[in-house]
Amino acid sequence: MTFRWIGCLLALLLIVSCSGEDRARAPAVRGPGTPAYGDAIVVGTIGEPSNLLPLLASDSASHEVAGNIFNGLVRYDKNLNLEGELAESWQVSPDGLTITFHLRKGVKWHDGVEFTSRDVLYTYRVTVDPKTPTAYAEDFKQVKTAEAPDPYTFRVTYAKPFAPALASWGMGILPAHLLEGKDITKSELSRRPVGTGPYRFKEWVAGQKIVLESNHDYYEGRPYIDRYIYRIIPDNSTMYLELKAGGVDLMGLSPVQYARQTDTPEFRSRFAKYRYPASAYTYLGYNLKNPLFADRRVRQAIAHALSKDEIIHGVLLGLGQVAVGPFKPGTWAYNPTVRDPGYDPVRARQLLAEAGWRATGPDGILMKDGKPLSFTILTNQGNDQRLKTAQIIQRRLRKVGIDVKIRVLEWASLLTNFIDKRNFDALIMGWTIPQDPDLFDVWHSSKTGPKELNFVGFKNDEVDRLIEEGRRTFDQEKRRRCYWRIQEILAEEQPYTFLYVPDALPAVSARFRGIEPAPAGIMYNFIRWYVPKEEQVH
């Protein structure tokens, strides 16, 4: 009897789960409403933060939470231009060596103590201290002297002009009065931080949630939303179900979720979906030490043989755009005049023939000196988009007579056994596009050593010169000229075939108002988001 009942229940479960519409909920009222204080936002995070002191954190989850608790001296505004945060203003000396920051007065730490230049000096010193296990010391090590002549002035002098220097002061400033003279690695502040930011730390339940409360004394004004709750939900499918059930208010959707699973009237009535280019690109990188790829024409042929539009359509369901260089489209460093090679299999075959790949084997693969034109693409495990990209590339290259094998490897193994040892033909990987366009670490020829990031081994004298020029001046127009030219060279040389810039696809509960999408995304003005009184739920 019991089993019959359970059988019925399971059958019902299957039937209902396979049917379409969700329980009807009252559609949200979508007028602007009146700004009001109160409510909470619940955000899902895949990984649990490890350390809430920005200096010691190396994962994005930690930085995301810490970003609401701490301020830097500067930050990027909605249009991705640098503006003052804890620094009211700054001056760069005519020789480009000294930056003087004038700090905001009256800013308070969450414990009520006033923020001064002593805090900035402490943050600088602890960052460059050899005993501090941080990944962020490099930019600060360029500093020759740092001084705090008075409580509201902070001055740094560099040995050489260093354009990325300014952005490096966006690092969260730490409270000297709580940390000075103590071992920062054992500080309880890593789990109970005290900052100057719009939200103050309230509680951390390990593995479950982190709760922040609005800072009523925040220098830019009290945030409308009272609480910021991070729920740790390690699985994307679970997070999506939580979003639909109302357990989470904001999450980044996958292309499938955005295009196919949320395109219902019910979802649209309860959530607002946004779409803008993410600060990242995916590329196919070649080992330029490999004789096959030493010939530029082979790389150009591959670029012509694959259709980036097809990849974007197949992998991202069209939710992305073609990448033609290492910069984010639409930013000042991005050169809109550089043309994508474009899909042209005839030209690809021509180029391969010019490079000596004329004969064809019995299986249709091109041959040269008795060897087939064949190589292996490596990519990391756990990234479905990269694997699909590899499969589409494999199919397209087969059509022009190139045999491609695909190998998926665990991240650490890929790094240690293949990339670090330069033991690869080609890779499908991605880079985050930093706000400052300095390309030194990835494209300069001095960075081709072991464990360094120019692992494809790209060496070009003109690019080296332009990179150095670009980081030694604060004049944006001069920098722009350098980066535009670099993109032209990269498009010609094809050390990478830049594939696509995916779109960021956040969905936010419709009760939140005040969201204004901009080049910086949607989170830049979070303290101005609000929920009208009558719609508040927490």
Binding site: F3, D59, T134
Partner: protein, 326 residues
């Protein structure tokens, strides 16, 4: 008995050392280092910074030195500090996760044994009937259906569509403001789906095991004798057969002990339950040596204790074994 237990405990010491050595070697054989996981692909990292981090974690010392100093600390029950950026003591990290995993596993284990034993007995006593076949089908369904798929299906049905049960986590937001009773009820609600999925998946093995034990015992001569004496079927099964059929199951219970602190990564990830499985997985992925080795050593120790307990329970339940050793 006491001498036997003492002897067994003594024998554990070299075994534990062997385990620490194997653990240490295996984790070091995995490609990559903790520092790699932290600094890989970061444009701001120089060789000098990497070296500084290696020094900070003591990875610059020769391997044997690292092993000796680690074992030296383990003997004093000091498992060191995690290599994650939080740099917290390993014991703290384990301590905050163990209660969740332990509670969940104990509940699931009680349910599993509580359901599988009667199911096994019922299937054995109704051998080859429609009931037996139905039960077999049902338990094997639980065994065959992938955990993540069943979990997502149930979450969608009970959480999104019906809104009866919470989808993930252990507590609702704001549950700290509830009365103790309401708070407990909230937690129970959160545990319904994970416990069901955990139990359903493991019913098959144990119930089939119980069924075959029972069938074997029922065929014994003394059961035939009991029946011949005119005892009721109930008495025959529950008084005479059950005890002997349960013996191997008791052993299994002992083997389940180390499993109690081992969580399942997939299961915990799906239900967003902060348990040991996730902790261990994250530790392995980040090459957090002290954490991984700490968990493995504790797991190994519990396995050994579990084996011992199983043997002791077995001896208690079966006088023949006791006499054999006496």
């Amino acid at each position: 008995m006491a001498a036997y237990i003492f002897k067994r405990l003594l024998a554990m010491i070299p075994l534990l050392f062997g385990i620490t050595l194997i653990t240490f070697v295996v984790i070091r054989l995995a490609p990559g280092e903790p520092v790699e996981a932290m600094t890989a692909m970061s444009p701001k990292i120089t060789a000098e910074t990497r070296e500084r981090l290696r020094e900070f974690y003591g990875l610059d010392k020769p391997l044997h030195e690292q092993y000796v100093s680690w074992v030296g600390r383990i003997v004093k029950l000091d498992f060191g500090r995690s290599f994650a950026p939080d740099n917290r003591p390993v014991t703290d990290k384990i301590a905050e996760r163990i209660p969740v995993t332990l509670s969940l596993n104990i509940i699931a284990l009680i349910l599993e044994f509580g359901l599988a034993i009667p199911i096994g007995i019922f299937a054995a006593t109704h051998r080859d009937t429609i009931y037996d076949k139905g039960i077999t089908l049902f338990v094997f369904l639980g065994f065959a259906v992938p955990t993540f798929w069943l979990a997502l299906l149930l979450m969608y049905f009970f959480g999104v569509k019906l809104g009866w049960l919470p989808i993930s986590g252990l507590h609702s937001l704001g549950s700290e403001n509830l009365s103790p009773l309401a708070w407990f009820a909230d937690m129970v609600k959160h545990l319904v789906l994970p416990v069901f999925v955990a139990t359903f998946g493991s019913l098959a093995g144990l119930s089939r095991y119980m069924r075959s034990n029972m069938l074997e015992v029922i065929r014994q001569d003394y059961i035939t004798t009991a029946r011949a004496k005119g005892l009721s079927e109930r008495v025959v099964i529950y008084r005479h057969a059950l005890r002997n059929a349960l013996l191997p199951v008791i052993t299994l219970l002992g083997f389940s002990l180390p499993g109690l602190i081992g969580g399942s990564v997939i299961f915990e990830t799906i239900f967003a339950i902060p348990g040991m499985g996730q902790l261990f997985y994250q530790g392995v992925m980040a090459r957090d040596y002290p954490l991984v080795m700490g968990i493995l050593v504790i797991g190994a120790f519990l396995t050994l204790i579990g084996n011992l307990l199983a043997d002791v329970c077995y001896a208690m339940a079966d006088p023949r074994i006791r006499h054999g050793r006496g």
